[in-house]
Amino acid sequence: MDQVLINILNGISAGLLLFMLSSGLTLIFSMMGVLNFAHTSFYMVGAYLAYSMSQAVGFWPAFLVAPLVVGVMGAVFERYALRKVHKFGHVPELLVTFGLSYVVLEVVKLVWGLSNVPFSPPEVLQGSAFTVMQSSETGLGLMLGAAPKALCVGNDTVKLACSTFPAARFFIMAVAVVMLLFLWLLLTRTRIGLVIQAALTHPEMVEALGHNVPRVLMLVFGSGCALAGLAGVIGGMTFITEPSMAAIVGSIVFVVVVVGGMGSLAGAFVGSLVIGLLQTLPLTVDHSLADAARSLGWAVTPQTFGYPFLKITLSQAAPILPYLLLVLILIFRPKGLLGTRED
């Protein structure tokens, strides 16, 4: 039971990290109609920049400044590259972001080397956020921080098990939730948010009212990149900061955006959580279709037709489930779970 709880929390924190990435991607897509292939490159740059800055000025200043720097880089890219090719249509726009992702990858390799860099969370975030204690007598218990060893040792009558939840993962969840709130307030409660929303659907009208739509686009692109950079900082320190980090999250972020619904922020949120849980929970199930069939009373043997397929356990198949979901969504609900586009 304690492990189930830990697993769900793992899934949610993985999902929330994905949301930080996909929210920016989906915002940019809904405004500009461009799928930004370089989005996860900004994620990687955020991690590397924060690593270098934290060497000089410590983690917390780096945590605040690195995403801003990434945001400025994104805005500059939008202003001087993307806007130039905008008039040639979507394909050149797509290609220029595609090209950028390669440029960023090679630059990162040249500057920081091919191997991973030792970017770890600051002291405060290295320990445990809380401990889940499972006792055969009193059931589940929670305790802040790491539980002392003495509390986790059972005896003959009482069985005890402790599981800790890392503080860094808790931090991911906290940052993502704060970010979600902030984004929602910004988009619905502020003037600039209203302009952005209006520019989403009626750019010409907004322009006619005297707003500078290209600048709004630049702002959105920059903010999206800053969010990716922020995700990079906390993702990089929690997991690993290395040149392949962009490619590994890249494919899954696109799955999130498509499953959630292209251009829908709420969809990105739901999609992220679904994918986060889908990447986590099935891994714990070591049963296969063959086992399921046997429990229903059917005899399944290695001679049964399709046995190599039937014997695959859910945990083995887990890594492909997000992509399977992508295909199914595209077939049965092309606009995504919460998407609004009808074309």
Partner: protein, 416 residues
Amino acid sequence: MNRYTRTILAASMATGMALSAGMAHAQKGETIKIAWIDALTGLTAATGKNQLQGFQFLAEQFSKSNSAGVKFEIMPFDNKLSPQETVSVLQAAIDKGVRYVAQGTGSGPAAAIIDFLARYNERNPGKEVLFLNYAAVDPALTNERCNFWHFRLDADTSMKMEALSTFMQGQKDIKKVYLINQNYSHGQQVVKYAKENLARKRPDIQIVGEDLTPLAQTRDFAPYIAKIKASGADTVVTGNWSSDLTLLIKAANDAGLDANFYTYYASVSGTPTALGPNAAGRVYQVGIMSYESPEARKIMDAYKAKFNDDFYTAQIFSAYQLLSAAMTKAKSTDPLKVAFALEGLEAKGLSGEVQMRKTDHQLQQHVFISRWEKAGAKPNDYSVENTGYNFRTIRTFEPYVASTPTSCQMKRPNPR
């Protein structure tokens, strides 16, 4: 000119050359070009770069002095970890006149080289190419797929598991083992040999779970760690390398998993940094290099001074030792003669004597179990990746312990 006269001519020319060179050292002063074919881009780029530097660094050292009096030169080729690419760069290398090729990362590319050379060498007598496999560890390469032109300098998966399980046999506190590995040939073989060996040596050990994860795709190992924790395992056996090992151990540290890790590749670029103080005393490695042997240490220190990186591939040293010894013995740099000279050849490796087994061309050598610990007094003072920690040798196995039988039926060409 028919074949007969050509042979006569060649023979007389060779005799003349041998006479002018003073009979015994026909090979002296020749430059041996070795094509190094491994990945310098992609997933294993950091490891590739480290090992290429190792080859170049030792080429310099050995060129200064070696028993055969030859010079070594490395020509690097990037195969992007793909067997397809491997074959095309191998062809390019051969076109440049290379007669020796070294490769290590991945048994797929290694098998591609073996297959290619088997055909090429048969069709091009007098232009044969010899393959030094320094790290591809699929046992099949020296069993059912063995080939005369292939020489393996690392201990294969089965040999390392033989040693590792013999060590585990003596660790009485091991009761429940969890196997987590990468889902490709090497990872699957670790699982297979771990099960076989443990069943034979410690039937009381329970295998409480096994997982195969997609190769270098998993970012978040926390779910697997939760699973390992739920299984109650006290020991984890893994053949994972690179980010798959780094992230596994990092996640284990984060979740407070108290199990011991028995690994194949904890010393490979990037992983030691992730191990850190948290993993001290809990991560074991089976390997063929002892960090404390004075010869190894000399090279490690010089390598670090030059590249600020760690030298952990002892096979590279064996490659040069064996080649120069074989060339001295054969009095030639002709790969065919060198290959025959290599069979059964003994040489001094970095951590003890090594011997190239004649039947299957698998190097027989010492195998070491080491543990990640805080650096101490000499000779344990080396700092891996400048962490202040290192792999301390805690058990040394003589070559016969790790030796595994072979089913190789080798076809040999006719000697010249």
